[in-house]
Symmetry: C2
Subunit: 147 residues, 2 copies
DNA sequence: TCCTTAATGAGAACGATTATCACTTAGGAC
DNA sequence: GTCCTAAGTGATAATCGTTCTCATTAAGGA
């Protein structure tokens, strides 16, 4: 395992132990390149390392959510959708409703939202913003395989 | 049933039929005055009209989501949280994490978000914003019963 | 190398939500 | 007001995403 990959594992799991299963899970998350459900991730991991259990994927997802390596970006048919977060700065996600691509968007709303909340008599502690739209490739009518 | 209440029923259910159960469900949603789960709503409805089944509450919630009378404003312990929407204009919700109070906030971000999305190569179709904070009463340390 | 304990895989359990079905009733047509 | 039909209802079973349990394995510090 090359050092940069080890660094990725630390980003993904923090102080948790890193096993072969978790290595495969972090690698699969990064490879998918768009929003994924736990089921998608499990399928993808199984191709890298057969035999990894679904419960293990759920546990790894919980760990990666804890470190902020991935984030929940919505739901699809009642299943939670996750995406890998680039960098650590506060940001939101732009999700393509056609192909599932996810683009991080640095947050520039903090001051504005805090002011709106204050006017309404609230002290803002956090906010969630998710944008849905169509990415360039999908707008052009390209199928996911042509990209 | 007084006319204004009938108008509420139309707001809640649109062209759907209005039964006693649905009248009680819409009334209970309005009475709760903060974010509620389906279970909360069921408990509340049962006090107004005993015997209403949980499935009926789920069906009424689906109908009220369809008309925009209520909206999903997040989740709590894996259960969906709903709140009654005042008026019909596009708005977001400010949720008090202490008492569950929900305040609507007119949306003033549309142009800004569309621009951010366009810069990232997306055509924005929709967005979800939820703000979490502490309401005035909770900040003052008032317990929910003192209000 | 040893030892502790976190991680694992399999499958059971859980729980929110949805579907089914026989029965009831809202509300339009007359 | 009466009829009729389809939508709504309550009870309960089914579904399915997610979490828990438990015996076993293995990560990684001493």
């Amino acid at each position: 395992m090359i050092p940069s990959a080890e660094r990725d594992m630390h980003r993904a799991y923090g102080t948790h132990r890193v096993s072969n299963a978790r290595r495969a899970i972090a690698e699969a998350s990064a490879r998918i390149g768009c929003a994924f459900t736990v089921e998608d991730l499990h399928r993808s991991v199984t191709r890298i390392l057969p035999g990894v259990g679904l419960a293990t994927v759920y546990r790894a997802v919980a760990a990666m959510l804890g470190t902020g390596y991935i984030a929940c970006v919505g739901t699809r048919c009642g299943k939670a959708l996750y995406a890998v977060c680039e960098g650590g700065a506060h940001h939101h996600h732009l999700v393509c409703t056609s192909c599932g691509a996810v683009t991080p968007l640095p947050c520039s709303l903090e001051a504005q939202l805090a002011t709106s909340a204050r006017r309404a008599g609230y002290t803002l502690t956090s906010h969630e913003v998710t944008l849905y739209g169509t990415c360039n490739a999908c707008s052009r009518g390209a199928s996911p395989l042509e990209r």
